[in-house]
């Protein structure tokens, strides 16, 4: 037995989970209210959101937030696939690769959008 490199994945999982727990419900509620037309029309208007997200501190925070949530979801999905029946070593490696590749893609896409 040797020490695993899982901490690389677990700390982002824990951080993303905490951020998701604290912030996602409110964010989802805002978008839901907007979709239902219950927010003032100016709230999520393009200029307002753009101006706000363009501030460096907000942009960086949003990127970190989204990235950590993505990696939280990817790690949890990988563990859940094991629970759901992916049992043998080869299949486990493949499902892990799929989950983390998807997360990497999403992270790269986010970086590209931000730039």
């Amino acid at each position: 037995m040797s020490i695993s490199n899982k901490p690389l994945l677990w700390l982002p999982f824990a951080g993303g989970g905490m951020l998701a727990a604290l912030l996602l419900p409110a964010l989802m509620l805002v978008l839901l209210l907007d979709s239902l037309g219950m927010l003032s029309t100016a709230a999520l208007a393009h200029e307002r959101v753009r101006a706000w997200v363009s501030q460096p501190l907000v942009a960086i925070s949003a990127c970190v937030f989204i990235t950590l949530v993505i990696w939280h979801a990817a790690h949890r999905l990988r563990m859940t696939l094991q629970d759901l029946g992916v049992r043998d070593a080869g299949a486990r490696r493949l499902s892990a690769r799929i989950c983390y590749s998807a997360a990497t893609l999403a992270t790269v896409a986010l970086a590209w959008v931000w730039v």
Binding site: M1, S2, I3, S4, N5, K6, P7, L8, W10, L11, A14, M79, T80, Q82, D83, R87
Partner: protein, 259 residues
């Protein structure tokens, strides 16, 4: 082959309920496949399922094999699945169960015979995680180690483990991964990690922080739910995940050792 059943009057005027026990049988010398056997047991109101099993063994079917000892939930011998739940049979009061009780050996573990399971899954892993004191500094000859009540309180709940293996039966990861060290072994490693006299956390990490250690746990939490001694192995494992992760980064960033 069965001796004649004990007359009800011999059990006592307080025999209230006749319970149907459906018991898992596995006798490899007779049949390579397991089977079920049903017994009618007149149970007193205060009986536990272990009493019903002892009644079967004494009066109905002496061939039934199972482990038990203290009959008071401290030895950890009599763990079984009773109506699908891992529980000490000496703690499973018949009055809390319906008239039909299904008794099986502890889940996820290899069955040797009837209700007797192999305990190596825990016992071998206790050695793997070095669940013994690795002193920071050896005590001087003839001098005891010193520990304050506050220091004892840090790990005391973890030291209450009676090695009953109920947590192994409750944990799906134990079934999904044969190599997984398991809740009790990891909790007992943490018991020593938290002991103020101990300096062996990093040594234990070779096993606890391996792929078959804490990282197989997905915090289902059922181990802590079924533990008769409130050890909370699930909490212990999460604490180890946090500690191991911080230690992992601290070592690589040259921030010194955290363990």
């Amino acid at each position: 082959m069965n001796p004649s059943p004990m007359p009800v009057s011999a059990v006592g005027a307080n025999a209230l309920r006749t319970i149907t026990l459906e018991v898992f049988r596995f006798r490899p010398e007779q049949d390579p496949l397991p089977s079920w056997q049903t017994y009618q047991v007149p149970c007193r109101e205060e009986w536990v399922v272990l009493d019903a099993l002892n009644y079967i063994k004494d009066h109905l079917d002496g061939s039934l094999s199972y482990r038990w000892s203290c009959h008071m939930a401290v030895c950890g011998s009599c763990g079984m699945m009773i109506n699908g739940k891992p529980i000490l049979s000496c703690k499973a009061f018949v009055r809390d169960f319906p008239d039909h009780i299904r008794v099986e050996p502890l889940g996820n573990l290899t069955v040797i015979r009837d209700l007797v399971v192999k305990q190596e899954r825990l016992l071998a892993n206790l050695s793997a995680v070095k669940s013994w004191l690795i002193p920071k500094t050896p005590a001087a000859a003839d001098e005891p180690y010193r520990q304050t009540p506050v220091q004892l309180d840090q790990y005391r709940h973890l030291s209450m483990c009676i090695n009953c293996l109920l947590c192994y039966a409750a944990c799906p990861q134990v079934a999904l991964n044969e190599g997984y060290l398991g809740p009790a072994a990891l909790a007992l490693a943490h018991r020593y990690n938290l002991d103020s006299r101990d300096g062996g956390t990093f040594e234990r990490m070779q096993a606890t922080a391996s792929a078959d250690g804490i990282w197989e746990c997905s915090f289902v939490g059922e181990c802590s739910e079924v533990c008769p001694k409130h050890v909370d192995p699930a909490g212990a494992i999460q604490q180890m995940k946090l500690a191991s992760s911080l230690d992992w980064f601290a070592r690589r960033l040259g921030l010194g050792e955290r363990s």
